[in-house]
């Protein structure tokens, strides 16, 4: 087990190196720091001196990969690649282009993101499983057909619509919750209510269908038929056997997205004005702050890979038949 985890962790490294090189190429080679400076300072009427100044303030005035003016190891380390990209591996994300400490920003903005993401996930899973079990229970009836059609219809509505409609009806017409905003501590409750509700409703269509397939697969197995043949009622079979055994794929499916909850939801957060990591990223994209976007790309990939690793490990924990060597 320990061996396996170590081996998997070593496998993570080349992937992160790959991500790093890819972002480096995207951000520094396709467009040189000069281009970025011009874009930030306002296209045409920019003097070279202003560009140089901008670059120097942000540490972009070094050569990309090889510094000929330095000696020894400094030839490698006094470069943009080393200073801006290698630092990411030890989570030294540096400062944003507007001069703020990115690590401090992230550790502060992580919490509002989690305050929305965790309840959305928990309630989403519970509601989805309930509806999926109902669909299975009424298998073959008009209720199932209608339910499935409703699922497809819900899936076909853009996520933006749920947010806009939710804000309009719940927030503006009924005035049950604030339309947007956020407050720290217990006051956050009324602000996260609507985003969580919309998150749950928005994921309903695809979620119910996904859990339904899981349950159907389980319900088609021999032991379920045996259980029914022995005279167990439909409800007993569903809850004691199907649900219990389907928990394995359900749990592992949840584990893989757990680390990514930190990243927050881009759209929800920016619509509701929640100061989380999602809106942080959106703001960075719209103000073209390359340092933040680069850090978030790295963080996102890192969390994704951790999620994959956790999934593999959780398989061994919930299913004793799986052995990792």
């Amino acid at each position: 087990m320990i061996n396996y985890i170590i081996r998997r962790l070593l496998y993570v490294l080349p992937v992160l190196v790959g991500v790093n090189i890819l972002t480096f190429v995207l951000f520094f080679v396709v467009n040189t720091p000069d281009d970025m400076a011009r874009m930030q300072l306002g296209d045409k009427h920019v003097t070279q001196a202003a560009v140089d100044n901008w670059k120097q303030q942000r540490g972009y005035d070094l050569p990309l990969l090889w510094n000929e003016q330095e000696k020894g190891l400094q030839q490698l380390s006094k470069t943009i690649f080393f200073e801006k990209s290698v630092g990411l591996f030890v989570f030294d994300l540096g400062v944003s282009d507007s001069g703020r400490d990115i690590v401090a920003d992230i550790s502060q903005r992580m919490w509002p993101s989690l305050a929305i993401a965790i309840p959305s996930l928990i309630f989403g899973v519970l509601v989805n499983i309930t509806f999926a079990l109902l669909l299975i229970f009424y298998r073959g009836s008009i209720l199932e057909f209608g339910g499935l059609f409703l699922c497809i219809a819900l899936m076909s509505i853009s996520g933006l619509f749920y947010i806009i409609a939710g804000q309009y009806f719940v927030g503006k017409l009924l005035a049950l919750t604030p339309i947007s905003g956020y407050a720290p501590g217990m006051d956050a409750f009324k602000f996260i209510l609507l985003p969580v509700l919309i998150g749950v409703v928005g994921g309903l269509g695809s979620g119910v269908r996904w859990y339904r397939t899981l349950f159907l697969e389980e319900a088609a197995k021999d032991y379920v038929r045996t259980a029914k043949a022995k005279g167990l009622s439909e409800i007993e079979v569903l809850f004691k056997h199907v649900l219990k055994n389907a928990m394995i794929p359900i749990l592992t499916g949840i584990v893989v997205i757990l680390p990514l909850l930190f990243m927050g939801s881009l759209i929800t957060e920016s619509f509701f004005g929640i100061p989380g990591l999602g809106s942080y990223t959106i703001d960075a994209i719209s103000s073209q702050d390359f340092a933040i976007v680069r850090s978030m790309v790295f963080l996102g990939s890192f969390l994704y890979i951790i999620g994959l690793l956790m999934t593999d490990i959780s398989y061994t924990l919930v299913d004793p038949r799986v052995r990792l060597d």
Partner: protein, 449 residues
């Protein structure tokens, strides 16, 4: 003069690919059977008909004609403008531009304005619209007039439909590929579509059926023009993504060893980067590039087209990993099957083996993925346009419509029609695509047979 943008070719490629699939499947029994299953399913036929209707509009919007503008004096100007066939058909909608917002079917503007009447008295009134309801002598007759026009349109629609059926009855045998149930479902859907089009065509020149937007442009026109953008994103992304996914997936599964390792590494790395961020990074870079090389993109249309093309390429590059993984797993299974082992023992080359024995047996996966991904891409466009990393703001798209109408929701009285129009159109297309995908999956899934 006919002009062609890069993305126009994508629409035509989509049509040609569709025709090829039909032509190819007609001869092969194992492909004909699932397709017949799709045609026998009423939901399948109805959604397919709706999708084809959207495709027709997209195709009409992709045939562009360059012509000289007519000056008010009646002479032709030196400047040319490019109009698509759809633009020409929709001329009444396109040219009826009001001053600013107006409600659906309105004959008055949305907001009060200061105006001086003939007697020289200044008043604070709702000014009448330039085009919407301008033919009415008495505005109180509006509802009657709308009903009469709509009924006329409906009548023409029904007549046109009967005409279509008569020509079909006269000139072809109805049961050539599909049985009559499929055809009748298709015809019934067509009846609804034709009637809808006829009613809109009857009302369109006299009213703004879905209102007008901030600069007074007809919302119905915008929504119809956005169809092409949605189709292009779906089609072009698939064209970019498909070859990468198929080639790499088959190679990884078939050759195994270091080839497999490299390809697995590639897709793990790519899929580990959050998709939206990768797209954002690439679009940001493209914007910098365009800002620094303005000479390469002379017209606004060129720029917008380039950005759409680029967006599709990036979406394609980020979305091949899922299909690649599926194909790799399936190829790993197929390469150990007896008939493949036998073919290899008989000395069939590796390329032939892949082409003859592996590729046809994974095509159902490809088919299912294409149809499933299409609706996701149309929805993704709206979200990306909202973050300003989608299509160019000058391109007609549902995402842009939603994006601009977000602020309009806060106005008093609320401007709801732009948003509603974008959602109705998007919902229809995506719902049809999703339902079709479901039927196709059921028909092509070997486990279901």
């Amino acid at each position: 003069m006919l002009t062609l943008l890069w993305t126009d070719m994508a629409v035509f490629a989509l049509i040609i690919a569709g025709l090829f699939v039909v032509w190819h499947s007609r001869k092969k029994e194992h492909l004909r059977r699932p397709w017949l299953k799709v045609f026998n399913n009423s939901i399948g036929v109805i959604s397919l008909t709706i999708l084809l209707m959207f495709l027709l509009i997209g195709a009409l919007d992709s045939i562009r004609l360059e012509h000289h503008k007519k000056l008010p004096s009646g002479e032709l100007s030196e400047h040319t403008e490019t109009l698509s066939v759809l633009d020409i058909i929709l001329t009444p909608l396109r040219s009826h531009v009001e001053k600013t917002y107006s409600k659906p079917f309105a004959h008055q503007a949305y907001a009060k304005e200061m105006s001086v009447d003939s007697a020289g008295v200044t008043r604070w009134i709702y000014p009448p619209l330039v085009y919407g309801g301008a033919h009415l002598t008495n505005p109180s007759d509006k509802q009657k007039d709308i009903a009469v026009k709509a009924l006329q349109g409906l009548g023409i629609g029904v007549l046109a439909w009967f005409g279509l059926i008569l020509t079909l009855k006269l000139f072809c045998k109805l049961s050539f590929v599909v049985n009559s149930k499929g055809i009748s479902n298709c015809l019934l859907t067509l009846l609804v579509i034709i009637c809808l089009v006829a009613v809109l065509a009857a009302l369109g020149p006299y009213y703004h059926v879905l209102g007008t937007d901030k600069v007074g442009e007809d919302v119905l026109y915008q929504a119809i023009k956005s169809i092409r953008t949605g189709l292009v994103i779906g089609a072009l992304t698939t064209i970019v993504m498909l070859p990468i996914a198929i080639v790499l997936g088959l190679m990884a599964g078939f050759f195994r060893g270091w080839v497999d390792d490299v390809i697995q590494y590639l897709y793990t790395t790519l899929s580990s980067i959050p998709g939206v961020l990768l797209i954002a990074a690439a679009i940001l870079m493209a914007q910098v590039y365009m800002a620094n090389n303005p000479e390469l993109f002379t017209t606004v249309e060129d720029r917008a087209d380039m950005r759409l093309l680029l967006l599709c390429m990036i979406l394609g590059i980020t979305s091949w990993t899922g299909l690649c993984r599926l194909l790799r797993a399936e190829t790993l299974k197929i390469r150990e099957m007896d008939y493949v082992v036998a073919a290899r023992a008989l000395g069939v080359g590796r390329f032939q083996l892949l082409k003859r024995h592996v590729l046809p047996n994974v095509m159902h996966l490809v088919m299912i993925t294409i149809v499933l991904d299409f609706s996701g891409l149309v929805l993704a466009e709206a979200v990306l346009s909202y973050i300003n990393i989608g299509v160019d703001p000058s391109t007609y798209s549902w995402g842009n419509m939603i994006n601009t109408s977000r602020l309009e929701m806060a106005r008093e009285p609320i401007v709801w029609w732009s948003l509603t129009a974008a959602f109705i159109f998007m919902f229809t297309l995506v719902l049809a695509a999703n339902l079709f995908a479901d039927v196709v999956r059921d028909a092509f899934d070997p486990r279901a047979n």
